[in-house]
Point group: C2
Chain length 296, copies 2
Amino acid sequence: MIHLIIHLMSTKSSPRAPLRLRNASPNRRERVTEHRAVGVTAAPTFKPIHTRRTFEEICERIREQLALGILKPGDKLPPERDLAQQLGVSRNVLREALRSLEMAGVLRLQKGVKGGAFIQEGDTRRMNEVMRDMLSLGTISVRELSEARVHVLDLVVQLACAHARRADLDALEANIERTELATKEGRLLDRVECSREFYKLLAAATGNKVIAMIVDSVTEIHMRFVYAKVASSGVAMARLAEKRRQFLSALSERDAALASRLLRSHLESVQRMLEQDPGSMSLHVALADVQPGMRR
Amino acid sequence: MIHLIIHLMSTKSSPRAPLRLRNASPNRRERVTEHRAVGVTAAPTFKPIHTRRTFEEICERIREQLALGILKPGDKLPPERDLAQQLGVSRNVLREALRSLEMAGVLRLQKGVKGGAFIQEGDTRRMNEVMRDMLSLGTISVRELSEARVHVLDLVVQLACAHARRADLDALEANIERTELATKEGRLLDRVECSREFYKLLAAATGNKVIAMIVDSVTEIHMRFVYAKVASSGVAMARLAEKRRQFLSALSERDAALASRLLRSHLESVQRMLEQDPGSMSLHVALADVQPGMRR
DNA sequence: ATTATTAAATGGATCACCCATTCAATGGAA
DNA sequence: TTCCATTGAATGGGTGATCCATTTAATAAT
């Protein structure tokens, strides 16, 4: 574990001293003298308003260090007290920044001696949170999300057919076996979990983490609907494992057209199942228990 | 503007009073007595470690209200001082939560009387930030992002062909005209901006905001490469507007195959242009000036 | 050697202030 | 009356001191 002592001085823009945005105008009266160039009728050069707040400034500087590779996952920031002093800000406002970055999945704060603020590996679940917030705020709809999912999954099938490796196929096979077992033993909700995992594995099989992240984010909400539906109705998709096997077989033989057809058909039947009970795809179901998966 | 007075009491879980996680054990010595069931050898029911910090708790409760539709975009939260008292937490820790939510694009904090914490419309640029962070942290690579972009854009072309409306096509047409003008006047960087806008409009033409958000997020970084390349080399894609016109024509005639072919060919030539100068697609270029577009 | 105790480091949280901005109310001048 | 300047209150922005809780290493006791 590298314990960097980091100078969070800005690398771009003028080499300003510790933030010190505060106390800029100790006396309001002096402000009047700021009016400049009284008689000049030239282009009114408005000051670029920089009412950037210090916590934003701090977030930005830390992200800057990340972007420059000076900070990397596993690194530790200086203790809050030290860093606050380095930056010339109060500990309180520094913590506002650190918590924001923690919420954003960039940092993890850990208590105790040898604790501190550690840079994290990127948490791909952040995108799920974005989707949830967008849904909560009404920016996107359940319909758009479902539609996007169908299209994205189709793309994923193409890519998975092209790029899936032995290990990916094996993982999918193992998943199907778990699905079969859960089916035999009547553990319906476990089977839903298997489904969730199935799509995760399929996404991973594309070999592209960006695509995988996108797929996960659009699948997450959908699986909640399925989970809720299965939990309440007690019924579940028939011949699930069997269908998965057919699909995996097509995937193994790189038959994208067939795999695509099989998946689309499955998605449609699931959709029909969900829509039997209007309201099973309500926002409420999608958003219940907000952020249970995130940072626990 | 609705001024809700909101009770941020949790709706799920027990009707607990204001958070009051603190002062739980005023005296360390008393802790010893917490050991329970001394002689019981039964299943060791470990406490589920709920070291959830209050700022997380607060974020969750506010998101809960969003999910339940009690809070909607445009609503205002109570003043910090009031809300802190309602929740039984200090103002500082409340602010940590509010700032996190602001960074997440859920809130906007506004100063002055009649100011406050306002729920925002969902900011779709949040996904761009996620991409940038993932790139910074090395979770995803430039290659994966570029690759994903190509595939996603192909999907977008299919969808845009199917769903583009008159207004969408007109907007694209107008964009091409701006591109032509910029070309004539030699404003190369403006032309790059036109390109950025072009993909945004194309994404919007799918009629699906989820897809649009995804496209924007994978295109954002790419346009930085193009911008940097054009800015440094002074050269730019030849016959850009012309190619766009051909593409738009195919789109108008709902010829997805042709449109797809045209776009892919264009993307490839751009890629060749970028790769002429190795290093032009470096992380540094992608991440310079982190978060300039976000909340300025 | 092993185990219990202690102490220090560090994040978690509170309190009491003060500043800066904004906006409505007020009041005086045209 | 109408308009503009002043004022004051509401509210977010920020500070510093202080305490608590957790974690770990060093130390002491067995």
